[in-house]
Amino acid sequence: MEKRVVFHSAWLPYALVAPQIAITLVFFFWPAAQAVWYSFQLQDAFGTSTEFVWFDNFTALFADGNYLESFQVTALFSVLVAFCGIAISLLLATMADRVLRGAMAYKTLLIWPYAVAPAIAGVLWAFLFAPSIGIVSYVLKGWGIDWNWLLKGDQAMVLVVVASVWKQISYNFLFFLAGLQSIPRSLIEAAAIDGASPFRRFWTIVFPLLSPTTFFLLVVNCVYAFFDTFGVIDATTQGGPGQATNILVYKVYHDGVKATDLGGSSAQSVILMFIVIALTVAQFRFVEKKVQY
C-alpha cells in the first residue's frame, strides 16, 4: 500500500529518518556484525592475542555436551511454558467470554501480572518455593514431597516454568478473549439449535476458529521462553542446579560475561540470531496466512 499524495523535499526525509537510522547502526548492526566477527575468532585467556579460526568455535560448540544439553533444556522449557500458558489462559478466556456478570472485574484481576518484571516474578516464586521457609514448600512437604529445588534439577525446572507461565497468562488471556469475542454469535447459536452441547461447540467451532490466535501465541510464547525469561532464570536458579535450567540465552550471558569466553559466546549469539530469524519468519507466515479451517 502506498500513499497517493506525497510531499517533496530533497533533504527533509533524510533528516527525519536520520536519528533512528543512526541508533540502529550504532546499537544494532555494528554489534551484530561484531558478534559474527568474534564468532570466527579464538582469544587466549588473557585477551592479548586473537586468531581467526573459521568455524572452529561452532564445531567446538556442537561437540560440547553442555551446549547440546542446553538445547534440550531450552526445548523442554519452551514447550512447557508455551503449552501450560496457552492451555490455562484459553480455559480462563473461554470462561470469561461466557459469563455476563463481573466479566470486566475478572479481566482486570487477571491482566495485572503483565506489569511484573520477569526477574521479580522469579523472586516471588523463589520465595514461595524456598526449601526451608517457603509456604508452598511447607504444603508440599506436608504431602510427603521432598522439596528442594536448590538440589533437584526437575524441581528447579518446575519453579522457573511456574514463574514464567504465571507472568505470561495475562498476555495470552487478552489475545484469546479478543479472539473469542470476534467469533460471530450466529455460528454458535446455529450449532446450539442443532443440539450441540457447549463442550462439543467449543471443540468443533470455537477452537478451530481460534487457530490463528493460537498459532500466533505459540510463536510469541516460544520467543518469550527463549529470551524474556532470562530475568526469571537469573533471579532464581542461575541455570542450576548443574545444567538443569541453563537455557541458551542464559548460557550466552554466562559464557560471555562471567566466563569471558568471547568466541564461544559469540558463536552461540549467532546461532540464537538464526533461531530468532526463523521464529520471526514463522510468525509472519502464520499471521499472513490466517490459519483457519
Binding site: R4, V5, V6, F7, H8, S9, L12, P13, L16, V17, P19, Q20, I21, I23, T24, V26, F27, W30, P31, A32, A35, L91, L92, M95, R98, V99, K107, L109, L110, I111, W112, Y114, A115, V116, A117, P118, A119, I120, V123, L124, W125, F127, A130, P131, I135, Y138, W166, A178, I188, P198, F230, G231, A235, Y253, V257, S266, S269, M273, V276, T280
Partner: protein, 282 residues
C-alpha cells in the same frame, strides 16, 4: 448467551475465581511478608495475615536498602527506574514517528532500504548481541549513565510500524488539502498528524512504560554502580543466598515497590494498554 445452563455458569465463575486467586496468591504472600519482621516470616509456616512492621520495612528499604545484601537506597532506584520508564517510551515515539512520517509521506531514493533496515532490527533482540553492544557502550564511555541505560533501547521497529500502519489509514484528502493550502510538510506533521496520532501514542506509551520499567539484562550490564541501579536490579542485588539467608521481608517490600507503578499503569489505563498490546503485535 445462547442458552441458559445454570450449572455451567456456576462452573465458569468457579474456574475464574480460582484463576484470579491463583494469580493473586503470590502477590498476597509478598505483601504479607513485607509487613512482618524477619523473625516472624522465618517461622514455618509463615503467617498469612499482615503484620505491624509495614512502616519500618518500607522506610528501611527506601532509605538504606537491606542489611546483609545491597545497601543501596531503593528511593534512588525508583528514580532511576522512572527515568528509564519515561525516556524510553518518549524517545522511541519521537524518533519513530518522524521516521514513519518520512517513509509514508515522502518518495526519496533509499526509502525502502531504510525501511528494511529498521524492519530487520526486530530480529536482533538485546539478548543475542549482549557482549558486542556492551563493548560499544564501553567505547563510548556510557557505562553508568542514563544515556547508556536508555539510548540503545530506544530504537524500535515496532513503534515505527505502528505509526506507519496508522498513517496509512489517514485519508489522502487531508494531505492534499494541506498541500493546496500551501502548508509545509512539517506544518502538516505538527497540525494534522500529531493531533490525530494521540490515541496511538497513548497506547504505545503504556506498553513502552512497562517495557522500560521492567528492563533487566541491559541495566544489569550497564548499571554496575549502586547509584545507577534500577529497582528490578536492586532486588537481585539484595538476594545473597537462595533460601533462609535473605532478609525476605525487606526484599518483598522492595518487590511491592517495584511492581506498584507498572501494575497501576496497566489497571488504570486498561483501555490504552489493551489497544497497545493488540496493535503492536499485528
Amino acid at each position: 448467551m445462547v442458552e441458559n445452563r445454570r450449572w455451567l455458569t456456576i462452573l465458569s465463575h468457579a474456574i475464574l475465581i480460582l484463576g484470579v486467586l491463583a494469580i493473586a496468591f503470590p502477590l498476597w504472600v509478598t505483601f504479607v511478608a513485607s509487613t512482618h519482621s524477619l523473625e516472624a516470616i522465618m517461622q514455618v509456616p509463615m503467617p498469612l495475615m499482615p503484620g505491624d512492621q509495614l512502616f519500618e520495612n518500607y522506610s528501611q528499604v527506601l532509605t538504606a536498602g537491606t542489611n546483609t545484601g545491597s545497601k543501596a537506597a531503593v528511593a534512588q532506584m525508583l528514580v532511576n527506574s522512572t527515568v528509564m520508564a519515561l525516556v524510553i517510551p518518549l524517545g522511541k515515539m519521537a524518533i519513530s514517528i518522524i521516521a514513519s512520517f518520512a517513509i509514508v509521506y515522502f518518495r526519496f531514493p533509499g526509502r525502502m532500504f531504510f525501511f528494511w533496515m529498521i524492519f530487520v532490527t526486530l530480529m536482533l533482540p538485546v539478548e543475542v548481541r549482549i557482549i558486542p553492544t556492551l563493548q560499544v557502550i564501553t567505547d563510548l564511555k556510557l557505562n553508568n549513565t542514563y544515556a547508556g541505560l536508555t539510548i540503545p533501547l530506544i530504537a524500535s521497529a515496532t513503534a515505527t510500524f505502528l505509526f506507519r500502519q496508522f498513517f496509512m489509514t489517514i485519508p489522502d484528502e487531508l494531505a492534499e488539502a494541506a498541500r493546496v493550502d500551501g502548508a509545509s510538510p512539517m506544518r502538516f506533521f505538527w497540525d494534522v498528524l500529531i493531533p490525530l496520532s494521540k490515541t496511538t501514542m497513548a497506547a504505545l506509551f503504556v506498553i513502552q512504560f512497562i517495557y522500560g520499567w521492567n528492563q533487566y539484562l541491559w541495566p544489569l550490564l550497564v548499571a554496575t554502580d549502586e547509584s545507577m541501579y534500577t529497582t528490578v536490579i536492586g532486588i537481585k542485588r539484595m538476594i545473597v543466598g537462595s533460601d533462609a539467608a535473605n532478609e525476605w521481608n525487606l526484599i518483598m517490600a522492595t518487590a511491592i515497590l517495584a511492581m506498584l507503578p507498572p501494575a497501576l499503569v496497566v489497571m488504570l489505563m486498561q483501555k490504552w494498554f489493551v489497544k497497545g498490546l493488540v496493535e503492536t503485535e499485528k
